[in-house]
Amino acid sequence: METDEILDAIKALLVERLKFDPTRAAEVTLDTSLPKGIDGSLGLDSLDFIELAMGIEERCGVMIDDQEDLAPHFKSVGALVDFITSRQIGA
């Protein structure tokens, strides 16, 4: 998947799985932060991250089973796109 495709997939997950307003999801860019507690972020909580992880596995074909700390990869949409891309290349 190319970067734009992954970004679209994340936006679709936000709407379909996390029930974000489609207008808000459409405004998401690579710079958008994900976790709650960061100004301007999407405000995702721990329950959202479970759903997001499952959605990424399902839609992008990557397995979330890493030993390393995954938080940096889910800090922003751009970081998440890079993570998914690297996992697809490595697969």
Partner: protein, 312 residues
């Protein structure tokens, strides 16, 4: 890969605004988490266990006088749970402080013994054979009743898998110092960042164990009201959402102190969470918890109003 049909989850129905209200459960400021109490209990570790438990009983009798607010809450909670009044209610209230002191003393001494020696303190183990038939990841579900930490540790021992214990951030320092450190396959995971759930997802994907306590509301949108002793109380839905998403079983485990000062470990039938069935599974868990507390009311160690734990 997960089934696309699972996309409609309980998470979607939880109002997002609730997560931003900033409410904090009462138990976060609980005095019993203080390192001084761990230090005091650990200092008694040199005593033979029978003598240590006798001393703990005495400390428990004193403690109820030192904590009048907690005593009042314990009394009113027991009144609801047991229907007792008068002298009987007074006895039960004393019993909570006594049993807590004993279990807490074991928590920071006996529990630190090598895993293989823990079973010497267990008189009965009911349902633990069920673990042998479980493959892959699982979620161990305990509560603040009896010696919950021993229940989780025995489960980790029997399942022979790395175990990730989810704890409040402020608890972790005392736990790592006074209860146990990483190294025996058990790792404490502080609930500090919202991304903590990613660690748990990955651990379960690797076939490991995640241990959580399912009796304390977190002040988040995951808190769900469920009848507990006939009154609605908030319980965390998160473990059930995790179990449904990863398709792993929830394994309830209780470790209760008996009159012979030994423990009985009970592992009821694991709970499977169907798509959209998170709340139903939560209700089943709360029913199990209520049944356990009904049999052991003096080993319910939540010193706050369980039916109204949130402060603004």
């Amino acid at each position: 890969m997960t089934d696309p049909s699972l996309a409609q989850s309980a998470v979607a129905s939880l109002p997002r605004a609730e997560a931003e209200r900033g409410a904090v459960p009462r138990w976060y400021s609980h005095a019993y988490n203080r390192a001084e109490l761990y230090r005091l209990a650990a200092a008694m570790g040199w005593l033979p266990r029978p003598a240590r438990l006798r001393l703990a009983r005495a400390v428990g009798r004193v403690a109820r006088r030192l904590f009048p607010a907690e005593r009042a809450v314990v009394r009113s909670t027991l009144e609801v749970m047991t229907g007792a009044t008068g002298t009987r209610l007074d006895e039960l209230t004393v019993g909570v402080f006594r049993d807590f002191a004993m279990c807490f003393s074991d928590l920071v001494t006996t529990n630190r013994q090598p895993s293989t020696r823990l079973t010497a303190h267990v008189s009965q183990a009911r349902g633990t054979e069920r673990l042998e038939g479980l493959e892959g990841g699982m979620i161990s579900l305990t509560a603040h009743v009896g010696n919950w930490e021993m229940a989780g540790r025995l489960l980790a021992l029997r399942s022979a898998r790395p175990t990730h214990v989810v704890v409040a951030a402020e608890e972790i320092q005392a736990l790592e110092r006074w209860v146990r450190r990483d190294g025996d396959g058990v790792r404490f995971v502080p609930r500090t960042m919202p991304t903590v759930s990613l660690q748990l997802v990955a651990a379960l994907r690797r076939g490991e164990v995640v241990a959580v306590q399912g009796d304390r509301a977190l002040g988040t949108r995951g808190d769900t009201l469920v009848p507990f002793f006939g009154r609605p109380a908030p319980f965390p839905l998160g473990p059930f959402i995790l179990a449904r998403a990863l398709r792993v079983p929830l394994v309830p485990a209780f470790c209760m102190l008996g009159p012979d000062d030994r423990y009985t470990v009970t592992m009821p039938e694991p709970l499977a969470v169907a798509a959209g069935g998170e709340e139903e599974a939560l209700r089943a868990w709360v029913a199990l918890l209520e049944e356990t507390v009904r049999r052991h009311p003096t080993q319910w160690f939540n010193f706050f109003d369980i039916w109204n734990p949130i402060r603004g």
